[in-house]
Amino acid sequence: MTDTAIEAAGLGRQFGRRGKWALFDCTFQLPAGSVCAIAGPNGAGKSTLLALVAGLLVPTEGEVTVFGTNPGAARERLAFVAQDKPLYPQLTIAETLRLGHELNPGRWNAAVAEPIVAGGGLDPHARIRNLSGGQRTRVALALALGKRPELLLLDEPMADLDPLARHQLMGVLMADAAENGTTVVMSSHVVAELEDACDHLLLMGGGRVRLAGPLDDLLAAHVLVTGRAGDLGPHTVVESRTTGRQLTALIRPNGPLDAEWQTSEPTLEELVIAHLRSPAAPELTLTGETGTDADTDTDSDSDSDDTHTDETDADAEEAAK
């Protein structure tokens, strides 16, 4: 098994010849066995990225490989649950699982799929068209896991589940992934639900990768500082807010911080929201394997929506040195 599950290089996708670029210049690596969260606001390019990795779309530019080959050739090894959980409405649940068996000869494991359906108290003879959204999600996940994928791609998997089902299914998913060493990539715009489950983060915004890398490293690379308004000197300021004389900022420290600042490690939610609030903040891609942090600023002129300040650009350049 290759060490890298997904590798994207300069990946971009434009819809229509003169249409909008849903995704551009997307570069990252995901080691096999990791559980990666793709976070970002609506329209950030999460679904497009997942569809490209699943081999359902052809990149307009750049390249993406799955386990070292192109996604189409890795079809048997990956499973994909699309955002609206498409299933054949005319089939029963049992027939849907049978479909998984028929279309994945030699891979299908009913002993994995059936308990997931049973766990929701679903009647195997119920037709898909009579199921609620959450019940369909459960069947879609059962179909995906029954295939014994090595890479599981989930687009907003938990969106229409009640909290109890969400908790239970997430537990099943994570236990299964841990047991089989499955690489899991799931997108969500509810950040909180990802924090416990994931060890990697891919934050997207406006079709670009904003943050990528191991979650712990990303959190460790940022500091939440509060104190009297003052100069944050050589540090990269992702977002800062001033209330009266009080300044709160999320920064990427470059060198030691002045003792007058109160510091704390940000939560995932704080990290994500700070980056979403300031689209001009430089990108940060960390690769856990090498242990060296590469702070890159590759988007300077590519996105006209961004309002770059001289300060952040200068910060980014310094950080890159």
Binding site: G55, F80, L87, Y88, Q90, L103, P105
Partner: protein, 333 residues
């Protein structure tokens, strides 16, 4: 991995049995309703033709003899038709009409249900992220219905020919001409070819629009244009036979194509409106009348040329469908 260790036993069990597997299983279960409808349609139309061949023809024949139509001499009763005649005629029409309509049913179904709905709802992508490539998916989607369409339509064509050729005298009484559109389709291979074209056209329309309702309209509409165009072209698909006569228009036999008058230079002109004046023809320099037509011996040449054109169109349309799908989903076979 656990899945791999379980694979050999499962795979061999998978291949031993004769039940449909894989994509064929999927096709049978996903389109059960369409399959039942098709079987029902063939049963009804085929049953009507079988009835016409047996009791229907007997009844009409008895009526024909009772009306003494077989005897020469003025017999007005033969201008009227009886109940058996009507029922017999309707049963045969049901058969030929079905053959005529099947291509449209195939186009609408393929556009809306077979492909369009799957692309619209995302279930196609569900299939493509199982261990099935888009190309194999489309191949199964087209092959299974194509086989059933060919089998069903062939059966109807054979039954229709059986009825058609069973009693020449009855056919003459019925005024059945071999070149009438619905009979032409139902008596030869051309009806089968159109069914395949309908399937291909609906599939391409669905792949282009990716939505079922527009695919329904576009697939059906395009097929209608092609069918109309080829029907108009049909008499010109094979060289016609021309007969000329000096004093009057030659009698009509077979598929009429053109008629008119000939000048001494051999030019073709529209038939003159002369009444009884003798000088009229001379003034216009008309020396003879001509008629272009296809004798019944042209039935098979006309059938085969049209079938060839339709099958070629179906092949091109199918090829474009595969090309489009591969371009969109990134080629892997």
């Amino acid at each position: 991995m656990t899945a791999v260790s379980a694979a050999p036993a499962e795979a061999s069990a998978h291949h031993r049995s004769l039940r449909p597997r894989g994509l064929l299983w999927a096709m049978l279960h996903l389109h059960r309703a369409a399959l039942l409808f098709w079987l029902l349609l063939i049963a009804v139309a085929g049953g009507a033709l079988l009835w016409a061949y047996g009791p229907g023809a007997d009844g009409a024949w008895a009526e024909y003899r009772m009306m003494r139509c077989a005897y020469s001499g003025p017999n007005r009763t033969c201008d009227y038709t009886g109940l058996s005649y009507d029922v017999y005629s309707r049963a045969v029409s049901l058969g030929s009409l079905t053959v005529t309509l099947v291509p449209f049913l195939a186009a609408l179904w393929a556009g809306a249900a077979l492909i369009g709905r799957e692309l619209e709802s995302g279930t196609a992508e569900l299939a493509w992220t199982q261990s099935v490539t888009p190309t194999r998916w489309l191949l199964a989607k087209l092959t299974a219905p194509a086989v059933l369409l060919v089998l069903g339509t062939s059966l109807l064509v054979l039954l229709h020919r059986l009825v058609w050729t069973s009693n020449d005298e009855l056919r003459r009484w019925m005024n059945w001409d071999w070149y009438v559109d619905s009979a032409f389709r139902a008596n030869g291979v051309v009806g089968i070819a159109y069914a395949l074209l309908g399937l291909a056209a609906g599939a391409l329309a669905a792949l282009l629009t990716r939505r079922s309702l527009p695919a329904l309209g576009i697939g059906g509409g395009c097929l209608a244009v092609i069918v109309y165009g080829l029907t108009v072209l049909r008499p010109h698909l094979w060289p016609v036979v021309t007969v000329t006569r000096e004093n009057e228009s030659p009698p009509a036999t077979g598929m009429p194509v053109a008629e008119g008058a000939l000048t001494s230079a051999g030019a073709r002109v529209p038939p003159p409106v002369c009444g009884s004046r003798d000088t009229c023809l001379a003034e216009r320099d008309i020396v003879a009348y001509y008629r272009d037509f296809h004798p019944s011996s042209h039935f098979w040449p006309l059938q085969l040329v049209e079938t060839g054109i339709v099958l070629a169109l179906a092949a091109v349309v199918t090829g474009v469908s595969f090309w489009l799908l591969r371009r969109r989903t990134g080629a892997a076979v």
